[in-house]
């Protein structure tokens, strides 16, 4: 399978978890990574700078309608939902909160699964609420792969538990194993076979 995109959702404890996960991913990683991290609506974009200076990929806040490209980690801006449109076009929306969150993980996961179907990998990381669990189920329904951070070693276990309880999960892994699993699944080989 050629995986075309990775979507990641996280909330409380997400900044550290994302850093741990992303540090293992090389610049040549052949799929774009889209991230919803729950943030305060007034957040100043610190997370982008924080992650960008600590990983090999280029980390940026999403600009509306840019096309998701390999080599980038796209962070949903505070107070906007991130949606994926046809052709990997990244869309923003200020519509009502979902699961009390904007950006919401479910919104990203569901729209990405509609576009990428079985060529999508979804990852649920640490978080203290259940956003993402419906999106995780939808990713599985569309044939994608689902990875969930091991709730026992996650800073906050509610979000991983909610995903695990809501659908079939392909891999439950400690945070330091997820990056390696991604490379194994997506690696450079699958890119060449495309």
């Amino acid at each position: 399978m050629v995986y075309e995109a990775i979507v990641i959702g996280t909330s409380m404890g997400g900044m550290t978890a994302l850093r741990e996960l992303l540090k293992d991913i090389p610049q040549s990683f052949p799929a774009p990574i889209l991230v919803v991290q729950h943030l305060s609506p007034l957040s100043d974009g610190y997370i982008v700078k924080y992650l960008d200076s600590r990983c090999n990929l280029q980390v940026k806040e999403v600009d509306e309608k840019e096309i998701a490209s390999a080599g980038f980690v796209y962070i949903a801006p505070p107070n906007y939902h991130l949606l994926v449109g046809n052709g990997g076009s990244l869309l923003l929306s200020a519509e009502e909160k979902v699961n009390f969150a904007r950006p919401s993980i479910d919104v990203l996961f569901e729209t990405a699964a509609d576009v990428y179907k079985d060529r999508l990998i979804g990852i649920v990381l640490t978080g203290a609420n259940s956003d993402g669990s419906n999106g995780a189920r939808y990713i599985k329904k569309k044939g994608g792969v689902l990875i969930v951070q091991n709730p026992h070693s996650a800073e906050s276990s509610a979000m991983p538990h909610a995903a695990i309880n809501n659908t079939y999960v392909d891999y439950i892994l400690d945070i330091n194993k997820i990056g390696i699993k991604l490379i194994e699944l997506v690696g450079d080989d699958s890119w060449r076979r495309k």
């Binding site: 600009d63 801006p77 869309l91 519509e95 919104v107 569901e110």
Partner: protein, 285 residues
């Protein structure tokens, strides 16, 4: 074989979305063809779950047969989520950098396009009042959704958000006590009727309606994100034609005029906010 591969869409649901949009256009004259498909699809699917329809095609049939069902979908398509002094930093910058220029005009016309339920219109009215510009202003607040326009006209909002609004107001550089602008009544707050004196609420559709005056300021925040690039370009052109030289367009934090044909007619006015100023062009004759 005589297939035109360009028109093929491999997802049946995407085709059903197009059919539904066509049905609305031909039956009711509302044009959503320039709206971003992923947004529209999400709104449609949400309504599908609420309505118990089994497919988007079923919905298209109901849209054709039942005006009320169409109206509910219409409300879904116009995203009406808003708040008082949403993005306080925008109002702060507007007050500090745009207001001094507005003072130089004897009379101000301000167009708030896509005003939804009006919270941001009243926010601007308050700001203008505090800057002593309100009496010489005329605000046009427009939306294509007549339901939300009625709400905007009333100026009555639920009390549950008032604490958040008060914080926004203070972060936006508010100069007075926010509570002076409304009266709380059970679960509602009613905004001071003097704030409405200079506001005209009107039905206007950015997709199909045209210019109706020469403005000094146009506010259109978090509307363009729901449009495809072509439609974004058409709307910015409409704004260009509706603005005096030196006039301002204020967009949402994540919106830009960068990719439209009109972009060279404007300069970026603020480093941090999406405020654009129409350039002064020397007369050619």
């Amino acid at each position: 074989m005589n297939k035109n591969l360009d028109v093929l869409i491999n997802d049946n649901e995407d085709i059903e979305v197009i059919l539904l949009i066509e049905a609305i256009w031909h039956k009711y004259g509302y044009d959503f063809k320039g709206y971003s498909k992923a947004h529209i699809k999400r709104r449609i699917k949400r309504r599908m779950v609420l309505s118990g329809c089994n497919s988007i095609l079923d919905m298209a049939k109901r849209v054709l047969d039942e005006r009320e069902f169409f109206e509910s979908l219409l409300s879904d398509f116009s995203i009406n989520v808003t708040e008082m002094f949403r993005d306080p930093e925008f109002y702060k910058v507007f007050r500090r950098e745009v207001v001094p220029i507005l003072r130089t005009y004897p009379f101000l016309k301000i167009w708030h396009a896509g005003c939804a339920t009006g919270e941001e219109v009243y926010s601007m009215a308050i700001l203008l009042k505090e800057e002593n510009l309100y009496d010489r202003s005329q605000i046009y607040a427009t939306d294509f959704n007549t339901h939300v326009l009625e709400k905007a006209k009333e100026g009555i909002y639920s009390i549950e958000h008032i604490r958040e609004y008060t914080q926004n107001y203070q972060r936006a550089g508010g100069a007075a006590s926010f509570a002076d602008y409304y009266i709380a009544n059970y679960q509602s707050v009613i905004f001071d009727s003097s704030l409405k004196k200079k506001i005209i609420f009107a039905d206007h559709n950015l997709v199909t309606d045209g210019v109706f005056g020469e403005m000094q300021v146009i506010l259109c925040r978090n509307v363009l994100i729901y449009f495809e690039r072509d439609l974004q370009g058409r709307v910015i052109k409409l704004f260009d034609n509706s603005l005096c030289s030196g006039g301002f367009i204020c967009l949402g934090t994540k919106e830009t005029i960068k990719y439209t044909d009109s972009s060279d007619k404007f300069e970026e006015f603020s480093d941090t906010q999406r405020i654009y100023r129409k350039k002064f062009i020397a007369s050619k004759d």
